[in-house]
């Protein structure tokens, strides 16, 4: 078994469970895994009317980045950005040597809502430890809100760090704002397409999101209203090292 998978297990079931498993089944490889670092990560949606798709939260080495502005998005990121589907991105994280642990959210995070994640990693990882959090703003064509590889290195126990996340335009889908192309609830009555492999935005590059125009501001084909607008930052990520 690879150790990363074990860390992931530990993060899902919680450290208490992992430790109790330790004493009850001494032949299980889990027992030898030292998950000294434990982080509680709270993701809060600061937007007015943009539900966040189930989030991806990962601990990794500082050399890892899920994306770079000015570069083209991976297909895994495109699937998250256009349809809120985090499965390919989670699989990609799971297969990366630079990633220590990754977790998918339990569900959408409503405006004003939050979700608590607990992730663990080996204490040897602290020197280069970094955090990424990604989710789609679902009442958009392809907006991803992200904490993109921010350092947690050298955080002490009980120390807290907060990150205000920017949202990004994945650049993979034209920002038509129509009910047929937006998967979120604002597009009720439309086809609400998620992922489409065609890349038809003005340029196939990730940029900081410019926000939505909306029908209330003159884009007649938009299904969105003034209520769907947002500004940076749209998500607050609070990290506490608890062990």
């Amino acid at each position: 078994m690879n150790t990363k998978r074990l860390f992931r297990l530990a993060s899902v079931v919680g450290i208490g469970f992992a430790l109790s498993a330790c004493s009850s089944s001494s032949d299980d490889p889990v027992v030898s895994v030292d998950t000294d670092l434990v982080f509680e990560i709270t993701v809060t949606n600061l937007s007015a009317n943009q539900p966040m798709s189930p989030a991806v939260v990962a601990l990794h080495q500082d050399s890892y980045q899920a994306f770079e502005t000015g570069a083209s998005a991976s297909v895994a990121l495109e699937e998250l950005a256009e349809g809120g589907d985090n499965s390919a991105l989670l699989a990609s994280l799971a297969s990366s040597d630079q990633v220590l642990t990754e977790v998918g959210g339990a569900g959408a995070i409503a405006p004003g809502g939050s979700e608590l994640f607990e992730l663990s990693a080996d204490d040897n990882a602290l020197g280069t430890l970094s955090l990424s959090v990604l989710s789609m703003l679902v009442n958009t064509n392809d907006a991803v809100v992200a904490v993109n590889s921010q350092s947690l290195a050298s955080m002490a126990v009980n120390e807290t760090q907060t990150f205000y996340a920017l949202s990004y335009d994945a650049g993979t889908e034209a920002n038509t704002e129509t009910a047929d192309t937006i998967p979120g609830p604002a597009a009720a009555g439309g086809a609400r397409e998620g992922f489409n492999a065609t890349r038809d935005d003005i340029r196939d590059e990730i940029s900081v999101h410019a926000g939505v125009v909306t029908q209330d501001d003159g884009l007649s084909t938009s299904v969105l209203t003034q209520a769907d607008r947002w500004d940076h930052p749209s998500v607050l990520v609070s990290v506490v090292r608890v062990d």
């Binding site: 502005t69 000015g70 920017l166 335009d169 920002n175 003005i202 340029r203 590059e205 940029s207 900081v208 999101h209 410019a210 926000g211 125009v213 501001d217 003159g218 884009l219 007649s220 500004d231 940076h232």
Partner: protein
């Protein structure tokens, strides 16, 4: 008094030379400054990239723009700022993109402050298309420890020109914004102009409105292409 106030760069000059505690301490740093345009489809005109002495600043938020900032913000002309920065002994590597810095691209300036008192870093350039918007990093303290430092820079409104969003002039005091070829290719035309007036002070830019009418409407700016939200630039400072 008014004149001194207008010369934003020189306000702090005398203080820096004669009373600032660090003025006599030579800084010694070999710096690279990478500026990345984070916007969707907006241009930056030639950028000022300068290290300058303690006590000096590019501009004061809430105050009237200097003529040098006005020239940058309305027309992308950095010559006045360059002259003023030279007069206070700044270390400069201006216009690293050798022209327009297009959306998604980066440009890197190098500054060597050895033997100078230049401990602050500033970056400024016009955001196009806007009437008098400029992206800036204003007088941040250059870290003394070697390493890489990331700053996200905002766009400001110089407050010197009405935001009518019309193609026009880059000359300070004249309406509209300049539209060099690559920019013009993305713009509409024939707008009637948005009713707005110059605000009179430097503030966080409220963004552009634009419209979806390429041959009319109120604005020559395209609302589906040219809008942006702050921050508009990522600035990576490497202290070697």
């Amino acid at each position: 008094m008014m004149k001194i106030k207008q010369l934003g760069f020189s306000v702090g000059l005398s203080a820096a030379l004669f009373s600032a505690p660090f003025a006599s301490v030579a800084s010694a740093a070999d710096l690279t400054v990478e500026i990345e345009n984070l916007t969707r489809s907006t241009f930056f005109t030639p950028l000022v990239v300068a290290a300058h002495p303690a006590g000096t600043s590019l501009f004061d938020l809430g105050a009237a723009a200097s003529s040098e900032i006005q020239s940058i913000a309305e027309g992308g002309d950095i010559s006045g700022a360059e002259t003023l920065l030279t007069s206070i002994g700044a270390t400069q590597d201006n216009n690293p993109a050798a022209g327009l810095l297009v959306a998604g691209d980066s440009a890197t300036a190098t500054l060597n402050t050895d033997g100078t008192a230049n401990v602050l870093l500033s970056v400024a350039g016009m955001v196009l298309p806007t009437n008098d918007g400029f992206v800036a990093l204003n007088s941040i303290e250059i870290p003394t420890d070697a390493g890489t430092y990331v700053y996200y820079a905002k766009a400001y409104d110089a407050g010197t020109e009405a935001n009518d969003e019309m193609i026009g002039s880059g000359t300070p005091g004249e309406a509209g914004f300049p539209a060099p070829g690559p920019v013009a290719a993305t713009l509409g035309s024939g707008g009637t102009g948005i009713g707005a007036s110059a605000e009179g002070f430097i503030h966080i830019h409220r963004g552009v409105l634009g419209d979806t009418n390429a041959v009319g409407g109120e604005s020559d700016i395209d609302s589906t292409l040219h809008r942006w939200l702050n921050p508009v630039a990522k600035i990576t400072l490497t202290v070697n």
